[in-house]
């Protein structure tokens, strides 16, 4: 616990690493997607923290970035999960290691 900013940044780093490790270690596509979401959220937390501790908080740049990032994440999740469902319908599995065919 050095300074407040460092706390948030380290929490974000931990969250990011947990997400990354999960995305690397789990088999299920949905969980990999959750891991990616965690990484994205870690980045968002960084933005908010830097906005809060930055010198130009009134410009709202960090906040705006997070707002757009959340919107984009929503779109990404919608499409990603639709893809998972479509793949599952075709292959009867959502296990990533079984989905390595590069041809339709």
């Amino acid at each position: 616990m050095t300074t407040p900013l460092a706390n948030y940044l380290i929490v974000a780093a931990l969250l990011f690493s947990v997400g990354l490790a999960g995305a690397l270690a789990r088999r299920n596509a949905v969980l990999v997607l959750i891991g990616l979401e965690l990484m994205l959220n870690a980045a968002n937390l960084n933005f908010i923290a830097f906005w809060r501790f930055g010198p130009h908080a009134e410009r709202l740049a960090g906040l705006m970035f997070v707002i757009f990032s959340i919107a984009v994440a929503a779109a990404e999740v919608a499409v990603g999960l639709a893809l998972v469902i479509a793949v599952y319908r075709h292959r009867r599995t959502a296990q990533l290691d079984r989905l390595d065919s590069l041809k339709g």
């Binding site: 990354l20 995305a23 690397l24 990999v32 990533l96 290691d97 989905l99 390595d100 065919s101 590069l102």
Partner: protein, 657 residues
């Protein structure tokens, strides 16, 4: 005039549009096709009237625009509105309109009705475009379009071999003249740098004011070549009688309003270019043609052929008029001739139509009672053509030509040739009328003839009126036409008819005409009871001369024996040259090329391909090695990305120190 000239382009554009739309119509839409063409022609006619009335105030307006440019050279096109063009516009659109209406009746049973009107509209559009053209280039384009349309129309019944041959002949023969026109055009462009007629003082016709054109004799003679081809002058007249193979309205259109008039109009349009020498040539060619064609007409038996030779002859008169008397004289005869010749052709069409497509006058006769209206209008046309005095337009226009010829300073010969032509004209026309309308029917078809429907007779009546009235605009007593073209004002002065220098010529030609009519009438009315197997009275009297005339002075045979044979010989020589000499050369080159190619192939296969194969093997091998990284396991990608991220971070943070 300035305001109207911007819209003059609509006059040819309307029938052109009708032709374009008509070409897309299905064959069954007959009423629409005809209505479109006639409606478009009506629009053109109304606009032509408007254009004509604006030109009553003397002046000339041109509207030029840039068509395209290459390099520094711009090619301008444009149209012009002046009295010469306006009167032509009026005549062409009016006659075309009347002929269109007539065609509705004449072509009623034809299966390709829609196509016919499409071609007719194209024909009229091309002619109208030619009339308004202010550039020799645009003129030439329309000129060729006229040729194309005439080809299509003469060969309209292309199932008949004779029609197909006639269309081809018309196209090729006129093309010989067009070659001259094209050369003249190029020469003119080389000398003046412009092909615009009028361009605010820079047009090719306007540059002549300052001293004239050095080469204008050559240029004008070349241009005259085109007119000779189009207007059927000696020696390129051979296509015109054959053009009778087309439907009769087409013949009427070709002979009266459009095609043959184009040549005369060309000379009238470029009249400032014509030097005295070339005008002499024009005069001589015209005078010779007039007599030559008239004499052939005497011995013809086909009703349309007689009219065709008469057209050639009258065109000769027009050329002669242009040569000796200027634009006004020639153009006046062109206009009057357009009306009565259209009338005569349409009348002949009416006759042919009612006689089940019979064209031989020896098989006709006695139609006067069966087709009274046709007879009456035909008689008006015949008298106008013969030049029966005072009340018929042909008289006044021919008198103007003869008068001008009489006063020609170079020679009196054209004048006498003209007189002979007038005599012959009256003779053969009387012969024709006697053969067709008097006596008794010589065949079953003519016996069952009947009057044509109103859609055909009404145009005849209109044209008959015009054939009478048109003459009064150019009498010596009231030379309105001449002053209109020259921008002056005419005054009525009856005493001029009786002027000392006019009267003897008037009387002389009148006497000749009446003598010819009486002579011919006496010969042929007496023989009107003959059957078709009997010989013509003239033939009985002078078989050799008649045969010569009947075979058109053997011109076609001469051409066959000389020009065509020569061409054929030349073609076979060319063929031999091509096969033996050039072919051998080409074969030698090809062997050489083949040998080189073999060598090349060897090099290619051994050296180049080998090298490439080695390269591609390497690339493929490395590709295979790299592709092992991309095995579809997305988590492996993510792993690599994570490692790469670490490497990047380390590099960014600590690498720079």
């Amino acid at each position: 005039m300035e305001s109207l000239v911007k819209y003059v382009w609509i006059i040819p554009a309307a029938p052109l549009l009708a032709a374009g739309v008509g070409a897309l119509l299905p064959a069954g839409r007959r009423r629409l096709g005809a209505g479109l063409a006639i409606g478009a022609m009506g629009v053109s006619f109304l606009l032509s009237c408007a254009a004509f009335f604006t030109t009553l105030h003397p002046g000339r307006a041109a509207c030029n625009f840039r068509w395209f440019e290459f390099g520094d050279t711009a090619v301008p096109l444009g149209w012009v509105l002046d009295p010469l063009g306006a009167i032509m516009l009026l005549m062409v659109s009016l006659v075309s309109l009347v002929i269109f209406v007539y065609s509705v009746g004449y072509m009623a049973k034809d299966g390709n009705f829609t196509r016919f009107f499409c071609f007719m509209a194209l024909f009229a559009a091309a002619m109208l475009g030619l009339v308004i053209a202010n550039s020799l280039l645009l003129f030439f384009i329309c000129w060729e379009l006229v040729g194309l349309a005439s080809y299509l129309l003469i060969g309209f019944w292309f199932q008949k071999p004779s029609a197909a041959a006639a269309a081809k002949k018309a196209f090729i023969v006129t093309r010989i003249g067009d070659l001259g026109l094209f050369l003249g055009m190029l020469w003119l462009y080389a000398r003046t740098g412009t092909l615009l007629f009028y361009d605010g003082g820079h047009g090719c016709l306007e540059q002549l004011g300052a001293g004239g054109l050095a080469a204008s004799t050559g240029i004008s003679l070349l241009i005259f070549c085109g007119a000779v081809g189009k207007s059927g002058q000696i020696p390129l007249h051979v296509w015109l009688p054959d053009a009778m193979e087309g439907p009769t309205p087409v013949s009427a259109l070709i002979h009266a309003a459009t095609m043959v008039a184009a040549g005369v109009f060309l000379i009238a349009r470029v009249y400032p270019l014509m030097s005295a020498e070339s005008l002499e040539v024009v005069t001589w060619v015209g005078a010779l043609t007039a007599v030559f064609a008239a004499s052939i007409a005497v011995a013809q038996n086909d009703i349309k052929r007689i009219l065709a030779y008469s057209t050639i002859s009258q065109l000769g008169y027009m050329m002669m008029g242009l040569g000796v008397g200027g634009v006004a004289v020639g153009m006046f005869h062109l206009i009057t001739h357009a009306f009565f010749k259209a009338l005569l052709f349409l009348g002949a069409g009416s006759v042919i139509h009612s006689c089940q497509d019979e064209q031989d006058i020896r098989k006709m006769g006695g139609l006067r009672k069966l087709m009274p209206l046709t007879f009456a209008t035909y008689a008006v046309g015949m008298m106008a053509l013969c030049g029966v005095p005072l009340f018929f337009s042909g008289f006044w226009s021919k008198e103007a030509i003869l008068d001008a010829a009489h006063h020609w300073r170079v020679s009196q010969a054209p004048f006498y040739l003209g007189l002979i032509g007038a005599f012959l004209t009256a003779f053969y026309m009387t012969r024709q009328v006697c053969g067709v309308f008097f006596g008794t029917p010589a065949s079953a078809e003519s016996g069952h003839a009947h009057e044509s429907p109103p859609v055909m007779t009404v145009p005849l009546a209109i044209l008959a009126c015009l054939a009478v009235v048109a003459g009064f605009f150019g009498t010596p007593a009231w030379p309105w036409f001449q002053s209109y073209l020259e921008g002056g004002r005419a005054a009525l002065d009856l005493s001029k008819i009786a002027a000392a220098h006019q009267l003897p010529i008037l009387l002389l030609s009148t006497t000749l005409v009446f003598a010819a009519i009486l002579l011919s009438g006496w010969i042929y009315l007496k023989a009107a009871a003959r059957t078709s197997r009997e010989m013509d009275p003239l033939e009985a009297a002078q078989p050799a001369v008649f045969a010569c005339l009947n075979r058109k002075f053997f011109i076609d045979e001469i051409y066959d024996a000389t020009v065509v044979r020569l061409t054929a010989v030349f073609a076979s020589v060319s063929d031999w040259l091509d096969r033996a000499v050039w072919g051998g050369l080409v074969r030698a080159v090809s062997w050489l090329a083949l040998a080189l190619a073999r060598l090349d192939r060897a090099v290619d296969e051994e050296v180049v391909n080998g090298g490439f194969d080695a390269c591609t093997e390497t690339v493929r091998g490395s590709g295979e090695w790299v592709s092992r990284l991309q095995n579809g396991q997305v988590q492996r990608y993510l792993r690599i990305i994570g490692l790469a991220f670490c490497a990047l971070l380390v590099l960014l943070l600590w690498g720079s120190q």
